[in-house]
Amino acid sequence: MLEENTVSNKSLDASNLMQLFNLSTDLMCTASTEGYFLELNTAWEQALGYTRDELKAKPFVNFIHEDDRIRTLDETKKLFKDNYRSINFINRYIKKDGSIIYLSWRASLLKEENILIATADDVTEIEIHKENLLKVKNELDNKQKVLQVILNHMPNYVFYKDSENKILFANKAAASSMGLNPDEMAGKHTREFFPEQAGQYYSDDLKVINNKKPRLGIEEKYIDASGETRWIRTDKVPIFNKEGEVKELVAIATDITQQKIDAQSIEDQNRSINHILRGAKLGYWELENQSGEMKLDEIWLSMLGYEKGEVYENIESVVQLIHPEDKQRVLEKWDEHVQGHSPHFESEFRMLHKNGSWLWILDKGLVISHDDYNLPIKSIGIHQDISFMKEAEEALQKSNEELLRSNKELDDFAHIASHDLREPLRGMHYNANFLLEDYSDLIDEKGKGRLERLIFLSQRMNKLVDDLLFFSRLGKGEIGKQEADLNEIAEDVINSLSHDPKVEIKISNKLPSLVCDKVKINTLYLNLVQNAIKYNDKEKIEIEIGSKKSPEGKDILFVKDNGIGIAEKHFDEIFKIFRRVVKKDAYGGGTGSGLCFVKKIIDLHKGDIWVESQLQEGTTFLFTLWNK
């Protein structure tokens, strides 16, 4: 039985095994150690497309993918070492049609027969799938890397958060804004970094999570690592999981602090410009040159009595409001500017007020941008109501005319004073004299004294009239303008005075040459020097004519004396006509007009005159020419 069994087993072994061998869809084979297939089951023919004979005819290596040959031989060699019972590996065979088949091998060596036995599975599909997976994985890896680079280099703060207000990931910018690196933020609660704002952030998060909709442009402020308040604008975007639930979100924040500051400063600037325009009552206009559209502000409109919407804001209707007599002139001026002949446009013209009256407007404007062909794109300008100025101008003209008339009257008066007043005055003088001559026997000493006083007074009055006339003539006519050496003038003046041993006049330094009216400056020096002599009670009268430079390098001329001095309270008064600060008959009894002439001459030369004086010690008159 046992033997039968054994035999029957044996017979099953041989024939059945062979049948099994050929029926199996697995690939089975034996091979010689020389590298030739010995036996192959039929599955091979289907798998590789070769007949078994074709496969046996060449070394099996020939059917292996070139790249896998060495590896296959290396694997096979392992079987010849003691410690390897069997080997597993995958390699590629080239089918008869040239395509590739992946085979997963299990092989062992029958050492006694020196035969390799092996089975192989077609794993082509799996391998190709694997290969694809790898490709996808590589691509993903690559994308991840790119994403990482983007995340780490973008200036925006990116937070990846869960529904518990925990930060799962923060990019470099986000982390460094808190003085940290990304790893230090990952996995931590928002509260740890933004203790004050965490609540607000979380409530924003929850809205995104619950509504499953992004929230964009959330503007918030926070305190950064350096303690500075910064503004951020955040977009929060929900992340949907497979089930369509939102458990996580991404917050992308942009630091808009600078923008905020800029916007604020622009707003401030606009506000102050507005204040200026409003304060100065200036209307503002803008013009799109090519379309003719205009923007007119409230002040512009209200200046002419209009409200927004009552005037078509375009160039044509605005020009319509200009007075017909002014229109041509204004447009020509504007063209002149547009064509680049003037740096800006400026014109005064009349515009029609809503109430029908004409308003004088001063318009200043300019083109502020040009296109590639240098044609104007945009212009701006301001309007100023100058009606009151025009009225003032007219009033000024009127008062000028009046002034001219009254000047004329003054001239006439001067003429009367010079001739008609002086003649009877002279008559009085002569008659008092004749009376004194003819009737001296009949008049006693007291009477004679009175007559002499009469003569003195008439002489004095004559002098006053003379001065008045001289003064009125000083301001008239052209002022001469020629280069004059002041040294010559001063010497002339000194020489014209009668010599008096008590008086010493010196020119202390070389005087400059100046453009002036020679005759008038001579009069000026003469008056100053005469005054210096007259108002002086010193034994030795010392007068110095000199010049010095002002800090600005201007010539300051002076006449200095050692006379009685002038009290400071009189400094202004002394320059007024017939104003005397000493008693009438003291110090030679001048008419008090000399300094008035001096002042007038200085005024004519657009200069300044001032006094430095110390009572009893002396006076210095200082003056400049042409500094106004």
Partner: protein, 139 residues
């Protein structure tokens, strides 16, 4: 000596009575017998000058009713037979342009009113001396 021109009158053109009296008195004081011919307006002065008598000197006020002193001065200096007669302008004007104008028109001297007798006489004496003694203006 003023006397040397006594045969020719001295023409005084002066509208102011007081001024003329002053002139009369001044000449009286000079103790020089000198005939004064007085015209108190421009028109009569012109008539006199148009006549046959050539004055030894003319004392001329500028501000006159009718024909002005300037016109008379101009007439004298542009008339052949009168041109050499010394003309002393006697006026109250202190205006330099007025004075300049007189000299431009040929005046020989200018005395500004008011003046005292002494100065007046001294000036006239000087003028007379210069023209009749130094410049040898024929009498």
């Amino acid at each position: 000596m003023f006397l040397s021109v006594k045969y020719k009158p001295l023409l005084v053109v002066e509208d102011s009575e007081d001024d003329y009296e002053f002139i009369e008195r001044a000449f009286a004081k000079s103790k020089i017998p000198c005939e004064l011919h007085h015209c108190d307006e421009g028109r009569t002065a012109v008539e006199f000058l148009d006549g046959n008598i050539i004055p030894s000197m003319v004392l001329l006020d500028l501000n006159l009713p009718g024909v002005s002193g300037y016109q008379i001065l101009e007439k004298i200096k542009s008339t052949e037979k009168l041109r050499s007669v010394p003309v002393v302008v006697f006026s109250s004007s202190s205006n330099e342009t007025d004075i300049e104008e007189c000299y431009k028109l040929g005046a020989n001297c200018y005395i500004q009113k008011p003046v005292d007798f002494k100065k007046f006489n001294a000036t006239l004496e000087t003028v007379k001396r210069f023209w009749y003694e130094i410049a040898k203006l024929p009498i």
